[in-house]
Amino acid sequence: MKRFNFVFTVIVMLFLYIPMIVLGVASFNAGTDIAVFKGFTLENYSELFVDKTLIPLLLNSLILAVLSSLIATVLGTMASMGIHSMGRRMRSLTMGMTNIPLTNPEIVTGVSMGLLFAFIGIILKTQNVLGFTTLLIAHVTFNLPYVILSVMPKLTQMDPNLEEAALDLGCTPRQAFFKVVLHEILPGIISGALMAFTMSLDDFVISYFVYGPSFRTLPLEIYSMVKKPLQPKIYALFTLLFISILLVMCVMNLLQARDEKRGHNLTHKRRRNV
């Protein structure tokens, strides 16, 4: 039985990761034909780093991802605090409403945002309302639910007396948040921010409907390139992208694992104190 489990796990892993392995191998291939491995080379990578179009686009994507995830994290944490202090009925209603955009098809979100911005453009009587700002707004919007979703559980797990203890010891509500509550929910905030960052970095569908000629991101550019045969340096770029997202995910899992361990200790203690 154990052996079967192992074999099965390996098969699933292969199934999940074979595409990435193929891509990785292709990025080191000296030839342009995917079917034939003509020898190991780093040329694709060196070509990538001197590329005049791809690197600025990657920077654009990173700027957008960092900014939108930061803004979403701040707003999402504030929203979570607000939702947390609501009554039980209002809280579950609001949580339901923030969760709906998560399940909404991306293309619907994209089209509706595109329409909204077009409408605003007409009101403002400008031709090119689409650009960096609209992309940023769109990314913050779809990132918000992820942040709220990962901060809320931390708030509900927190001993409500902690905040009261801080107030009791002379903190203003603001001080109580920064000196006590923030420390308690920080793991949730960080994992929310990382999730938002990765979501924003690789988003194509929503971006497609709200971007303008003045500001393009990497996924948009790559999508437009697909019509022509892909250059090998794109494989190199993707491999790097995959590895960096993998790293972010590893960090996130580590944080979660550490947090769970701490949470376990806490419940352990609380059980003793019943």
Partner: protein, 386 residues
């Protein structure tokens, strides 16, 4: 007489139309150790939270030093709280937890250091400065919580069942410790508990509460010796409560017999509740007693025997050092001062009959009692090994 510090005037508290506090009137003197005592859900914690500022009463006033403080937020009140589950800050070590309030108040760091060190001495936690909260035992966390509150030199310390989580031995030690700290620092303690023994041994004044109402306020001796109604008589200690009729001042009739007592001021022929404490009853030979009954069960309790005696179908609990075997017929004598008379109340007839007596009454009477108290120790050991 000590100065009055806190007064609650007609305080009422309702959550979603459910009244949890009903017109509470209460004053608390400076330097007093006052205990709010009652079963869970009686409104004692709500009262404490109103004084702490975490709840605003639906109606009524809270006065502090004569000033109305209903709208004063917790961080501007001169009271500090020790929470039931301690609520220590897990991201700070022992020292920083205790220093928290002083640093918020922006005291100079050398003053902070002096006071935290002094406080660590008072709660016997010297040498624990750099320990993480999660590495402390329950009793140690408890003392950090007390130190964290007291270091701010509040006028009043609020304690919400602070010993509920500790095992029995530790609880006894901490009771003495708390009383000592209160006397040493000369501040007012308002203490919430459901444990009558704790209340009796520590308090200057006990406020017995049930169903959102104050049942009785008084010194521990008064509460025990002169309970106002069947609820108080039953909740504080053990009581045999019988139906009686007041035939005249200092003369009560029950079980078809007239007894001389010390209570007066009742109407003639008024139906009353008669309280007889199990330890006040003298056992004599069957023919020499006022009443005669049959022993139905005996339980050895260490100091005394819990003896259940059947008197004409009504079972009494008698605590005696004389062993009377099951089935034996005994007589009892009641002295006038052993009989306490109470007016009838809504609680009449609900308590004080030992027909369904169980030898485990102590444990059952304690809602917080769980088997876990035993295995918490073994887990403590586990942790030390880590």
């Amino acid at each position: 007489m000590a100065k009055e510090l806190i007064r609650l005037v007609n305080c009422q508290m309702a959550f979603d139309d459910e009244i949890v506090l009903d017109s509470i009137n209460l004053y608390i003197n400076d330097k007093e150790f006052l205990t709010l005592l009652g079963p869970s859900g009686c409104g004692k914690t709500t009262t404490l939270r109103i004084i702490g500022g975490f709840l605003q009463p639906t109606s009524g006033d809270v006065l502090f030093d004569g000033e109305r403080i209903n709208d004063v937020p917790p961080h501007r009140r001169k009271v500090n709280t020790v929470f039931q589950k301690y609520a220590l800050f897990p991201h700070l070590d022992v020292y920083d937890n205790i220093a928290f309030g002083l640093r918020i108040a922006k005291l100079p760091e050398d003053e902070v250091d002096r006071r935290v060190t002094e406080m660590l001495g008072i709660v016997s936690l010297k040498g624990f400065e750099d320990r993480k909260i999660s590495s402390l035992s329950g009793g140690q966390q408890q003392r950090v919580a007390i130190a964290r509150a007291l270091v701010n030199r509040p006028k009043v310390l609020l304690l919400d069942e602070p010993l509920g989580a500790l095992d029995l031995r530790l609880r006894k030690d901490m009771q003495n410790e708390l009383k000592r700290i209160q006397q040493a620092m000369g501040i007012t303690f308002i203490y919430v508990t459901h444990d009558q023994e704790e209340a009796l041994s520590m308090s200057d004044t006990i406020v017995v509460m049930d169903k959102g109402k104050i049942q009785q306020i008084g010194r521990p001796e008064d509460i025990y010796n002169e309970p106002k109604n069947a609820f108080v008589a039953d909740f504080i200690g053990e009581s045999n409560i019988l139906d009686g009729i007041m035939r005249a001042d200092r003369l009560v009739e029950f079980f078809g017999r007239k007894f001389v007592c010390v209570d007066s001021g009742f109407e003639k022929d008024e139906p009353v509740d008669v309280v007889i404490r199990p330890e006040d009853i003298d056992i004599v030979a069957p023919d020499a007693g006022h009443l005669c009954g049959t022993v139905t069960s005996v339980t050895f309790k260490g100091v005394h025997y819990d003896t259940i005696v059947d008197f004409k179908g009504f079972k009494w609990l008698i605590q005696t050092t004389d062993f009377c075997p099951e089935g034996s017929v005994i007589g009892i004598r009641l002295n006038p001062e052993d009989i306490h008379i109470m007016h009838k109340s809504e609680y009449s007839g609900m308590f004080g009959d030992y027909s369904s007596y169980s030898a485990e009454y102590d444990e059952i009477a304690d809602p917080e009692y769980t088997e876990e108290e035993d295995d918490s120790e073994s887990r403590e050991e586990e942790r030390n090994e880590e």
